[in-house]
Amino acid sequence: MIQLYNVTKIYPSGVKALTDVTLRVHKGEFVFLVGPSGAGKSTITKLIYREEFPTRGQVIFNGKNVIRMRQREVPYLRRAMGMVFQDFRLLPQKTVFENVAFAMEVVGSSGRDIKKTVPKVLNMVGLTKKADVFPGHLSGGEQQRVSVARAIVNNPVLIIADEPTGNLDPETSWDLMNLFLNINKRGTTVIMITHARDIVDAMKKRVVEMAGGQIVRDEKEGTYRYEA
């Protein structure tokens, strides 16, 4: 489903974030991307949804060359993915409900669909009570869950979650992990960047460890393990 071939990414500032990275993720997989801060984890995901372009190498998604894709195909590439951004990226002038609904409006869902689906998804992430609140009045963890709700509302084939539990207490983290696990069981591919050792160790999923812009470990039923 996703193939990165010999990808090197050098940011305009001169920082070499990725060096000759090759990675394949198959449909239906659940992959943890771990590694110390600055290892290049977020950069990998940015290449997949084309926020950044690689300096060298190729990125393929569902058989399509992401780099050479035409500008007007990009929205459809992104609609196939649900992204939970490390920095949330919520629309400040819209309420929680509207933020999630907006993702559906963008793809042209009907008003009836939106009214039916959004409350269900907000319930899944435990934010039913906060539906009419603006993001600025939410805690970090709550904003993170809005971001998750928005990512899953359109039933994407791939979910990319950049530290989705970074601001959550252990209990809420586990609730959210179970949510992702259920979505994954229905066939959705999940790539999750995380620093949550206990979760990674307990889930026994594929673990890809990065360090200094390179993949240093790739295990089928791996554990968190790295010492920083």
């Binding site: 929205p75 990226r89 907006f102 409006e105 963008v106 009907s110």
Partner: protein, 295 residues
């Protein structure tokens, strides 16, 4: 387009206009002023052309006949002139009538002309009007060659100057219009650019969750069109009432000045201005968004 999407666009547009309310007011004002000047200069051009046309139709030439022409020859010539396609009107002025007119012009000094009745030195003549002012000079040259014709006189030079002036007014008007139109487009573009800039983060987010360029662009397009339309409505209202008030005043104080007051023509002009406002708004917002939507 789905109803929900339409509603989304309108909400976005109105919110955006309210958010940047002072800026919106400013650009509506700019469009209004530009279109007011534009509309006024259009009216000026229309009136100038109209006056030029009026003057043109009053340009005539005099065809002086040779002294020994017989009345049969004169009748012959009159028929010939009337048959010419460029000739609009032919009037015979006998030497007696010419003398009477001259006396009238001299008024109480007409004694100077006393005794001329016996031996009238004035020639018989035709006064000829052409269909357009451009035909005067060539026709005059053609008529000079006729047998009974002694001399052809028209406002040599004056006619040419008048023609040049009316052409000049048209060109100047056109240039003013184009310049003001371009200025208005760029002012709207600036407003929308600021509006886009203040929301660039939101635009980025929209694009990351899969919004197409058109989805992002449409509210801004509507905003530009709305600003353009609001400005042109103001301009049209001001021009309409201003112009008809002017016509009313002029009819009282300067009755010989004939302004164009054909309501249908003015209303067509106003409609064009409204449409132009819309186009200016749309063009402005399209220009301002070109860069932002690249990535």
């Amino acid at each position: 387009m789905r109803l929900r999407t339409v509603r989304y666009y309108f909400c976005e547009t109105i919110q955006s206009i309210l958010r940047n309310s002072w800026l919106s007011v400013a650009s509506v004002g700019v469009v209004a002023v530009s279109l007011m000047i534009l509309g006024s200069s259009l009216l000026l051009v229309i009136n100038a052309s109209n006056m030029a046309a009026n003057l043109e139709s009053s340009v005539e030439m005099s065809l002086f006949l040779k002294d020994k022409s017989t009345s049969a020859q004169i009748k012959d010539l009159e028929d010939k002139l009337k048959a010419m396609p460029d000739v609009a009107q032919v009037e015979f002025v006998s030497k007696q009538r010419a003398l009477e007119e001259m006396k009238k012009n001299f008024g109480d000094k007409k004694d100077i002309l006393a005794g001329l009745e016996e031996k009238n030195p004035l020639p018989d003549a035709f006064r000829i009007k052409t269909r357009t002012v451009e035909q005067v000079a060539p026709l005059a040259r053609q008529l000079e060659g006729l047998a009974q014709v002694d001399q052809v006189r028209y406002g040599q030079g004056v006619v040419e100057k008048m023609l040049a002036f009316s052409r000049w007014i048209r060109v100047a008007g056109l240039v003013t219009m184009v310049l003001l139109g371009v200025a208005a487009v760029f002012l709207i573009a600036t407003t929308i650019r600021l509006s886009v800039f203040s929301r660039r983060k939101e635009i980025g987010i929209m694009k990351f969750i899969g919004a197409t360029n058109w989805f992002v662009r449409f509210p801004f397009l509507l905003e530009g069109m709305f600003l353009g339309l609001a400005g042109s409505l103001l301009a049209v209202a001001a021009i309409y009432f201003g112009y008809f008030t002017l016509i009313g005043n002029i009819q009282v104080s300067l009755p010989f000045m004939q302004l164009v007051s054909d309501r249908d023509l003015i209303i067509t002009l106003m409609e064009r201005l409204l449409l132009l406002g819309l186009v200016i708004g749309a063009a402005g917002s399209m220009i301002s968004m070109r860069k932002f939507l690249k990535a």
